[in-house]
């Protein structure tokens, strides 16, 4: 008995090691041209930067960076990329603020940027090294980082209403419409206290970032009526439940809506009349980044039009880079047309103008969480 366990343990471990060892992957280098393993030809850097570091530590959202970028950067600059991921701003913040991690670049969403700046977690950026001119000015100089001292835009999007036009008889047009009893038991909501409480505040005509306890109490009571009708809360992959037909409508974000629509064109993304909740992900450099030179080179290279357009192909969000869109218009017309023809990625100007950004509410944060606990904690 014991002998067998011994053998088994040993063999399992050896087999597992073998499995791990046979890992392929990696870029091929063609003649003088640099080509990735998927056949993408790496363009030359428009601004050649001086890089002495041999590594670059990225701490980014899951599934948010095209593989070609990493392969090309490694080929062009000879820098090894260490790619760690997180799935929520809070996880990233908790890890950075507890210290000890040495990352060069992170991707905070708007509301957490101000907090990170206050806590001294981010360092100021040297704008001379960054392609500031390549951006659509609508995405620069926003309230969470005036003058873009600490961040540059990455991708933007909205948290709006999605519904299946085939199965929903009376389509919603506003957040307030979600309280329609016909929708009970058929909805998926984001599991995000700020977004859901926020949209309730909007239906009551209040500010989405209010700290007023009376207004929040009112929002809580209104939301408590709605929550029993929500079939599930999901901030990971709400499109799954929609595509699977478990739910017919709900609240989700840009990228998810686009993918759902691709699977089934009946899925429609509508920007509510109260004004959509908007968000923006940004690149930022943590204080004490050990390979700052490589970080600037990375941003400068990946933000080039002929590199940044890959985001249009892989991740359907609102692209703040004018350079990328211009490049796609001339060189990737199919992709460009698909992007421009969809109101999901090409958000109408009026909708953007009417939108609201979520901001950090400081000492009212536990109050929002308390409301969330009470709403979900009740039976």
């Amino acid at each position: 008995m014991k002998n067998n366990l011994w053998k088994l343990l040993a063999v399992t471990m050896v087999a597992s090691l073998l499995l791990a060892a046979c890992g392929g992957g990696g870029a091929d280098t063609g003649g003088g041209e640099k080509v990735t393993s998927s056949g993408f030809v790496c363009p030359e850097p428009e601004v050649q930067m001086d890089v002495t570091s041999t590594e670059l530590n990225l701490f980014v959202w899951t599934e948010y960076i095209p593989t070609e970028w990493k392969e090309c950067f490694e080929l062009v600059y000879g820098v090894t990329i260490n790619h760690d991921e997180y799935s929520s701003n809070e996880e990233m913040y908790a890890k950075l603020s507890a210290g000890g991690a040495t990352y060069d670049l992170v991707q905070p969403t708007d509301y957490i940027v101000a907090l990170m700046i206050r806590q001294g977690l981010l360092q100021k950026l040297d704008q001379t090294k960054l392609p500031m001119a390549s951006f659509n000015p609508n995405y620069l100089n926003l309230s969470f980082d005036p003058g873009n001292e600490y961040t540059i835009p990455y991708q933007a999007g909205a948290d709006a209403i999605i519904y299946n036009a085939d199965t929903v008889a009376t389509p919603p047009t506003s957040y307030a419409d979600l309280w329609n009893p016909d929708y009970a038991g058929r909805m998926v909501f984001l599991d995000d206290s700020r977004v859901i409480i926020g949209m309730t505040l909007l239906t009551l005509g209040y500010d989405v970032n209010t700290k007023d306890p009376a207004q929040l109490e009112e929002a809580k009571n209104k939301l408590a009526e709605l929550v029993p009708g929500v079939k599930l809360f999901d901030s990971d992959s709400p499109k799954t439940a929609l595509i699977a037909g478990d739910v017919d409508l709900g609240i989700t974000w840009t990228g998810e809506a686009f993918t759902a629509n691709q699977e089934n064109p009946a899925f429609t993304f509508v920007y509510p009349t109260e004004g959509t909740i908007l968000w923006q992900d940004n690149w930022a450099m943590p204080t004490g980044a050990p390979h700052a030179d490589a970080a600037y080179a990375w941003i400068s290279y990946t933000m080039q039009g002929n590199m940044f357009w890959l985001m249009l192909r892989d991740f359907p969000y609102i692209n703040p880079s004018q350079a990328a869109l211009d490049y796609a218009k001339d060189n990737q017309t199919e992709l460009f047309d698909a992007y421009m023809n969809s109101t999901i990625t090409n958000m109408p100007a009026e909708a953007i103008a009417a939108g609201h950004y979520i901001e950090d509410v400081g000492d009212a944060t536990p109050l929002y969480d308390q409301i969330w606990t009470e709403i979900k904690g009740g039976e």
């Binding site: 599930l232 699977a244 478990d246 009470e374 979900k376 009740g378």
Partner: protein, 307 residues
């Protein structure tokens, strides 16, 4: 000095335990003390800790509030008590179900031919080596409205010519229970197997010779002798279920908050480590108390895991 080491049994013991102590004290006791200190503190506007001494976090969890709607001086807000109670019930129900499913299987393996026993045991372990979360996702694929089970049932109904409305299985408390039972079943099978394996076959023969029928044998011989395994398995199942929230989140659609969610959210979303620390300590205290009384009544499980 080496000679003194050989002579002195006490120093030998200390030497053997020293690496463990380094790890436990360094990596666990120090953070635990830190947690205790933080639990008495106040939250700064940005979510950091203001070190002070106050019992406000504990008062909040116990639900003692002075902000009473009825106008009394002090009243009780059951919010957190409900969450704790919900977690306890889920843990209790899951454990009972796990025991009922694990016992027959453990019995089967324990009384199997010795050579086949290993194989049967490892077949129990193999699912554990896929990823925990992926297994939960597999259940989602099974239980969905258009998932595997409904598709199969629909096809069967079609064969017989019956109309069929898909069962709503996912995002219900039932789904959460099934998921919990599934994830923790192997941890109960192994300890019960160990105690059952130790029972000599001659005991069964003796009982039969004395005229006991199978049911009597079970209640008078098998069950009492296997209790240490049941106890050990309960500890290995009950405690993690109290703290796990992934299963409830994925299979229950995050409709309810369990104590595990609450604590996780305090450290991440609410950025209130003071309240989170207090909640963690209360959870740990409750778990220790329940375990203490349980092992007092049923005896300390000697076979925590099989061999």
């Amino acid at each position: 000095m080496l000679k003194r080491l050989r002579e002195n049994k006490s120093s030998q013991g200390t030497l053997l335990i020293s690496p463990t102590l380094v790890f436990m004290v360094g990596l666990l006791i120090i953070p635990l003390i830190l947690t205790l200190i933080i639990s008495f503190g106040k939250r700064s506007p940005d979510g950091n800790v203001i070190y002070t001494f106050g019992l406000h976090n504990y008062i909040r969890i116990l639900g003692i509030s002075t902000d009473c709607p009825g106008g009394q001086a002090v009243c009780f807000d059951p919010l957190y008590a409900n969450i704790l109670w919900r977690s306890l019930s889920l843990a209790f129900n899951s454990t009972v179900l796990v025991i009922s499913l694990a016992y027959p299987l453990a019995y089967f393996i324990a009384r199997a031919h010795p050579i086949k026993r290993n194989t049967f045991l490892f077949m129990v372990l193999v699912p554990l080596w896929t990823n925990f979360v992926i297994r939960v996702y597999a259940w989602m694929m099974l239980l969905r409205t258009q998932g595997v089970i409904n598709s199969v049932l629909g096809w069967l109904a079609g064969l017989v010519g019956l109309p069929f409305t898909p069962l709503e299985m996912l995002y219900t408390p039932g789904a959460v229970l099934v998921g919990m039972v599934y994830e923790f079943l192997p941890f109960m099978i192994l300890p019960i197997f160990t105690s059952l394996e130790k029972i000599d076959n001659s005991l069964y023969e003796a009982a039969a010779d004395l005229g006991a029928n199978p049911i009597r044998t079970f209640f008078r011989v098998t069950l009492p002798l296997s209790m240490p395994g049941v106890v050990a398995g309960t500890i290995l199942v009950f405690i993690p279920v109290m703290g796990t929230f992934i299963v409830s989140d994925l299979l229950g659609g995050k409709q309810v908050i369990l104590i595990g969610n609450l604590i996780q959210r305090q450290f991440l979303d609410a950025r209130d480590p003071t309240f989170g620390s207090a909640a963690s300590l209360i959870l740990m205290a409750m778990t220790l108390i329940v375990t203490f009384f349980y092992t007092r009544k049923f005896g300390f499980g000697e076979e925590i895991v099989a061999a």
